[in-house]
Amino acid sequence: MRRRPAGPPRASQAPRSGRLADLYAQELKTSLAAMFQYRAALGIYLIGNILEPVIYLVVWTTVAVSSGGSAGGYAPRDFAAYYIVLMLVNQATYTWVMYEFDYRVRHGSFSAALLRPVHPIHTDIADNLASKVVSLPLMAAAAGAMALFFHPAFPTPGWAVALFVPSLVLAYFVRFFLDWTVALAAFWTQRVSAINQIHFMAVLFFSGQIAPLALLPGPLRVAATVLPFRWSVGFPVELALGRLTPAEAIHGLAWQAGWLLAGIVILRLAWRASVKNYSAVGG
C-alpha cells in the first residue's frame, strides 16, 4: 500500500451519469453471474410463470366456448392473445423485492446497503433487469409455443404496437416503485408476509391477471382504473391486443405517467420514514 493518506477519496472524475452507467453495468454483471449459479431454480420458477396464464387461458377458453363462442367480447383466440401477451408483460414487470426486503431486514443485511454511497434501489433495479435478460428469451419461446397451440388473434394497429413499448417501460417502473414501497413495510413490521399476500391478491385481481378487466363488473372496473395495478400490467396488454382507441391509449399513458410520478414521490417519502424508523429501533 502506498503511503498516501486515506480520504477524502478521489472520486472518479467521470460525470454522474457515467458513474451511474458504470454502476448499472457492474450490478448487471454481478446479478447475471449470481443468477447463472441458480439455473435450475430459475427454470422451475419460469415453469410456474408459464403455467399460471396457461391455466387461466384454458379456463376462460372453456367459459367462452360454453357461452356460445365468446365471453365479455373475448373469443377463444382473443383470450389466447390476451394471456400470451399478459404472460410476457407480467414477466417483464414482475418484481420479488418484497421477499428480498423481508429477508434483508430480518437478517440485518440491510445495514451494508445503507453504508454504501448509492441508493439501494439501483441494485434492485439492476438485479431485476438481469433476471429479465435471462428469462425473457425463454418466455418468448414459451409464448411462441403457446401461439402455435392456441392460435391467438392480433388485430393490432401499427400505432398501438408503437405505443406498446413506452407503455411497457412505464408499466415496469410503476410496478417497481409500487412494489419497492410496499416492501418497505419490512422496516415497520415482522408480519410482512401478510401484507405481501394482500398486495399479491390486489395485483392478481386488479391488474387483469385473473380475467381481462373488461370482464369485471362496473364498480370494480372503476376501481381498477384508479388503482395503479392496471397501469403496471393490464394496460400494455390491452394496447397490444388492439382493444383501445387512440384516445383511450393516450389517456392510459397519462394515467401511467401520473402513477409513475406519484410512485416516485411516495417512495421517497416512505424510504425516508423507513430509514428513520430503522435507525431509531436498530438494524
Binding site: 498516501r4 493518506p5 480520504g7 477519496p9 449470481a34 453504508l115 454511497p117 428513520k276 435507525s279
Partner: protein
Amino acid sequence: MLAPPAIRVRDLRKIFVVSQRDPGLKAAVRSLVRRAKERIAAVDGISFDIAPGEIVGFLGPNGAGKTTTLKMLSGLLHPTSGDLAVLGFTPWKREKPFLRQITLVMGQRNQLVWDIPAADSFELNRAIYGIPAADYRRMLDELTGLLDLAPLLKKPVRNLSLGERMKCEIAAALLHRPGVVFLDEPTIGLDVTMQRRIRAFIAEYSGRTGATVLLTSHYMADVEALCKRVIVVHHGRLLFDGELAGLVERFTAHKTIVIRLGDCAADLRPYGEVVECEDGRATLRVPKADTARVTERILADLPVSDLTVEDPPIEEVIERVFAQETA
C-alpha cells in the same frame, strides 16, 4: 495547532424501547390490549475523542453498547441524544461524502456477494464508490499482496473458509481507502495464525494511510497488538478511557510473582496467595504495594533459580473490571 479529532462523541445516548410481558396465557391476552414497554439505555451518555490515525480498542462485555455505538458512529443508528461527529460529518445524515470515507466491518456478512467470486464483488465496490480505475487497480494489488488474496479471488465466496472470507471482507471494505475504519470483532472465529495476519494487516493499513481505527474484539491479543489506547464501556457507560497500561495499573491491585524452585515442598503461603505450584514452578499473587518487599524476602529465604514479576494477563484485568462493575 492541534488537528481536530477524527471522531468526536459527547454525551451520546441510545435508548431502545422494548416491549415485554410476563409469561402465561393471561399475560399474553393482556398484552393484546396493553403492551408493557421498557426503555433500555444501550448507550448511556458516553464521551470521547479519537485523533486522526489513532487505533483505539473498544472493549466491553456482550451487551455493553459497543456495537450500538459503532452503528451510531457509522450512521446506521440515530442517537437518542448527544453530539456526534465523524470527520466533521453527522453520521446519521448518511451524506455520500461521509459514506465514501468510512467503512464498517461487522462479522462476516457485509460486502461480498455469496454466489460469485470475491473479485466480482470487488469490481462492484469499485463502481459503487466510483473509484478511479488506476487507483482501484493499485489498491487491489496492494491488498492482494498484503492479505495473500491471489488464490482466493476467483473462487465463489461460499466456497471460502471463514478466515478466507474475512480477509476478502476486509479487502472489500478498504478498497475505497476509507479514512475511518470501524471493525466489530474482525478476528472472531478465526484461528490464531489468521488472527495474527489480520492484526498485522490492520496495523499496516493504518500506518500507511493514516486511517483512524476503532476496533472491538473479544481477543485481548488483538487489542494488545494494535491499540495503545482503550475505551472500556459497560452497561452503556464509559468505565475507562486511556492507555492499555493504565487500565492494568488502575484496575489491578495485585502483581503476579512467578518463581522457579527445585520442587513444591516449601510453604509459600507466608509470601502471598499461591495460585498454583507445579513441577517446581510457583505462581503467587501479591498486593501491588508489597511486591518489592515480598520479592526481596523470597530471594533471601528460598533457593530460587528464576523469578519474574508480571502484571496479570489483560483478560484477567478486564474480567475483574467488569466483575467489579457488576458487583
